[in-house]
Symmetry: C2
Subunit: 678 residues, 2 copies
Amino acid sequence: EPEVPEDGRSLVFADLTPEELAQVVRYLRGSLGVPLVDASRAKPSDNCIASVDVQLPAKAEVLRFLDAGGDRPPREALAVLYFGDQADPNVTEYVVGPLPVPTYHRDVTVQKYGGKVPYHRRPTLAVEYEQIAGFFKSRVFPAAPSFMRQVMEYDGTSLAAVTAAPRGFQSGDRATWYILFQNVSGFFLHPVGLEVLVDHGSLDMGQWAVSRVFYNGQYYRDMAQLESAYVQGRISVEKVRRVPPDGDFSSMRPRAPWATTFPLQYEPQGPRYSLRKNHVAFQAWSFAFGMSVKTGLRLLDIRYKGERVVYELSVQEALSVYGSNCPGGMSTRYMDGSFGIGRYSSPLVRGVDCPYLASYVDVHYLAHSQEVRTIKNALCVFEQNLGSPLRRHFSNLQSLYYGGLVNSALVLRSVTTVGNYDYIWDFIFYQNGAIEAKVQATGYTSSSFFHGDGLRYGNRVGEHTLGTIHTHSVNYKVDLDVGGVKNSLVAHDMAFEMARAPWNPEQQIERPRLTKRVLDTEDQAAFRLQSKIPRYIYFAANSKNKWGHQRGYRIQIVSFAGDHVPEASSMERAISWARYKLAVTRRKEEEPTSTSVYNQNDPWTPTIVFADFIDNETITNEDLVAWISVGFLHVPHAEDIPNTVTVGNSVGFFLRPYNYFDEDPSVDSPDSIYFSSE
Amino acid sequence: EPEVPEDGRSLVFADLTPEELAQVVRYLRGSLGVPLVDASRAKPSDNCIASVDVQLPAKAEVLRFLDAGGDRPPREALAVLYFGDQADPNVTEYVVGPLPVPTYHRDVTVQKYGGKVPYHRRPTLAVEYEQIAGFFKSRVFPAAPSFMRQVMEYDGTSLAAVTAAPRGFQSGDRATWYILFQNVSGFFLHPVGLEVLVDHGSLDMGQWAVSRVFYNGQYYRDMAQLESAYVQGRISVEKVRRVPPDGDFSSMRPRAPWATTFPLQYEPQGPRYSLRKNHVAFQAWSFAFGMSVKTGLRLLDIRYKGERVVYELSVQEALSVYGSNCPGGMSTRYMDGSFGIGRYSSPLVRGVDCPYLASYVDVHYLAHSQEVRTIKNALCVFEQNLGSPLRRHFSNLQSLYYGGLVNSALVLRSVTTVGNYDYIWDFIFYQNGAIEAKVQATGYTSSSFFHGDGLRYGNRVGEHTLGTIHTHSVNYKVDLDVGGVKNSLVAHDMAFEMARAPWNPEQQIERPRLTKRVLDTEDQAAFRLQSKIPRYIYFAANSKNKWGHQRGYRIQIVSFAGDHVPEASSMERAISWARYKLAVTRRKEEEPTSTSVYNQNDPWTPTIVFADFIDNETITNEDLVAWISVGFLHVPHAEDIPNTVTVGNSVGFFLRPYNYFDEDPSVDSPDSIYFSSE
Ligand SMILES: [Ca+2]
Ligand SMILES: [Ca+2]
Ligand SMILES: [Ca+2]
Ligand SMILES: [Ca+2]
Ligand SMILES: [Cu+2]
Ligand SMILES: [Cu+2]
């Protein structure tokens, strides 16, 4: 039975319900005094509601409510408006409240970002991609009719276009390379050699234009130039055989007949966790969860035995930086938050994505449309017997006995499919008081058309397919509150001291000793990717455990990260969170996230610069947040076809009690096994 | 159904059967022409058979047999004899064969070690520990009667002694610190403050002597001096309250009543692997296994689709280096192989150590006795559904479909309990052709009596208990044979190149590119703990895959290792394998292991020096071996009581196909799931 009764207080963290989302839309349509077009149909020159998500109350307010008997904070929404139909087109963010029946909206844009958000920074709406697809069909392809028919064998539907991002070289640019693929299952692996740079910066779609064309290693001014070169026989054609609709080698259709069934897990006496609305309890653990349209899964108010350990544990961003000898590939630095890590949550398939017996939760969101959308089974919760001991000891010395405990843990999972990639986000709660955050990468790898010096940028994985080298970097926010909100950051490590053996002073002993250091400023607490990090680094409370040690929670990072981008890059500040494997800053209500969705389309004037959070403030006895980046270098190889596997492509971190308790709390688990010879 | 039929050929790698072990003992007793005392009763001045284990045939012979239709190699044993009853006491190793009825024995000591093995290097037999326990009881404790009775409350059985190791400062020393604990369940956590240095180097046990005594921070010449200081009231007594037999805080008896049962795994249609004698087959995988008395679990002839990938994958050593302000702790550098990683295999408990449904295998060994001993259920084999996808993709773009595969893998496991610690050794076979080796640490942590400046060496975890800082380092031998025995070692990584955008030469792009390097000498292929290692490093075959890439298997290491010991240390060469996270050497029949069981008791003149394997030989197109060291720094803390947990204390490595196949071989798995909107 869960130890922490749920009384609805965790609803303070709840995502907006479909009804609430609809109310906000209704309110905005009636209150803004400007024409609003449905975002699913809006032109760039229209106004529309780009997204509505919950606006979580300030932490101080929430803590007053949860811990000090204060009032329940009003329930509010954050609405993002694209104002294309204004003299000064811009993006405006409103806080709308109180729900369920809003009566006010407050423009928070300047307060949040120190100024207006220029319109060119706006994340690309689904409808803009449709408009670009229309532009391809009506104006790009028709400009090279012979080439498209004879070389591409284009029939009006046989090509799929994948967007690169960012979209240019300087603020204000909105010129995107599109990479063309055969429109089959797993098209990401079927490049046809054609890439087109589309300038879609104008609010007048009639002004959209092709800025450059790439085919099989050569650049052309536009499609007409490509066509004429082709017609004159001046281009080197590398014709790609059309593959069947299932994609041939990119297909995921089973090739072997279904045989005996793999092992399955069952719960002899039913589930041992409770899941009520946005609240989960499992043994001594409890937490609330939510799904941000932009940043994805977040956990709030994580408690062990009723005592809060983490206020917020949330995904912030997923970044991939690519290399290639094709223009789309070489300009790609995807910041998935801008596409919507939560919005692209995938429905989870029972028995594969999560165990059959898992509990599944739907997610509702409003983005890129004024209709509420529902993702069925977007989250799952389950207990997993990991098949090995959490701890065990077999005594074969003075007496014969055995004690142990299987490692059975609670998992909360979602999967994001942003285009080609699938990220599996796990948060795991162990019986010893540890929490693990883990992300595994799978799905299709990106590819470029194989030509020329392609092998400088990856491995060939198909006749015409270059699996392009790239990084994966993921950022998490971890607002640990260890024994209260005021914490310090302490580092423990080992050093050897040369000592004389006390009983034999001619003899030297190289003796390991414990080194201890309080990291008292943000600058000391920012660890660059390539730097050494103390092997034990923990959030320390003011209070002490039974043995006089500061109660703490340790951060242990598992990562194989490649470098993010050189700091000299004109866009580096937009992704400066990726400089650091760990950075601990003073928590600020005005530094809620490590990046902004506006950074993708204008990384040259980033709306949020994480590196600026690190301004050498003291961080002793303060409310602190850890920002953790993990990742790996991915050089796609034959075995990434059809999909990257999760084995070895798993990174994350542990939050582990370090003198937080007086002993391992799993001693209180009902799962203990013990027997002795007596 | 397993793809590789087993025809008994893998018995070439089999451990000796109880009958074979008995035959070797019978043969030796009849053939050596010297009196042999049973090792379980032998005095240091006796001759005895210390151990008998299988002597695996040379690789060339095995390959002739397995791959070239050659004869089955003769079956042989390796017998280790302690000759204490000789003019020049020594350890001699004999190869004895052929089994089942031996007719010859061959002294291989000089051939293996370049000289005789001096007697003082011999690993300590169980009987020697018993003899030392007798020495304590009859001669140490009686020398301080009042102290023992009044301070220690010693009643003849109420104390347990734990050995430190190594045993001195220079070759020939055999003087060991013994740390005394209350003899209760989990005594490792109940130091009483008394430690005794026993010189047991003499072959005449009557000459054994106490060299020094430590009590509560002070050193004494011997027990008599301690007694007299005590009687005269000149020592600071820190009396430890006696705990009940269950050890109180060190007890693993459950505190909570058994409640609902945790999730369990079942096999709807029975096991999908086959286990016959020492051979396992699972889908495309097959391998043989064995248990070395000294080094523990080993896997041999690992094949995927019938093609050998690894000739040998074996545990080599587990090392722990401790710091403390007590003499036993500060002199401890345990090399578990000397104690016997295989010999201390633990019986596995169904449902905790391995899943209920696992298959269990007994292990038979002969060591420290002339009787064969059996460890029931010392190995387990099972398939584990890991509860997350091996790969998956949900397409929400051009068409709606889903494909995926649950990550269900085969596990081979054993657990070693050497004294306080339990190491869980896993070898995991994934459906994508990857192998994982993983070791998790649990069991009791070592401790010192808390006094003085103890907090320089760890955390206090009990009234009188200091959890002492230490390292864990584990070494593996990985004899990959990728597409044949001749391999090269290749490193791939990423570097940024500054390029002009081809379509816009004023603009700079920082472009990731693939760097490639053949590491052609052993020196280039030796990566020290603190050094950078290329992110992709792989064994490359001469053959190529379908896309023209050298077929390869990549090594990916997961480790949080602390430094081993300073290289200036007089014993460093004995554990020089721990200098390197990865070292690749030319395989040599005469370099079968990275260390020797004789290194523990004479690390100052090590019998095997791993660092000497690295002598800059070229390693292109040779039979290569990777030696991998993984580990972590352990600063025990309150939550290590009663036992260290496995969460976060797990290290190891992956062997992953890298262009070895033409595509991910899991496409042939019968577990694939696929559905689409069509
Ligand atoms: Ca700051
Ligand atoms: Ca905090
Ligand atoms: Ca060599
Ligand atoms: Ca080899
Ligand atoms: Cu990737
Ligand atoms: Cu340890």
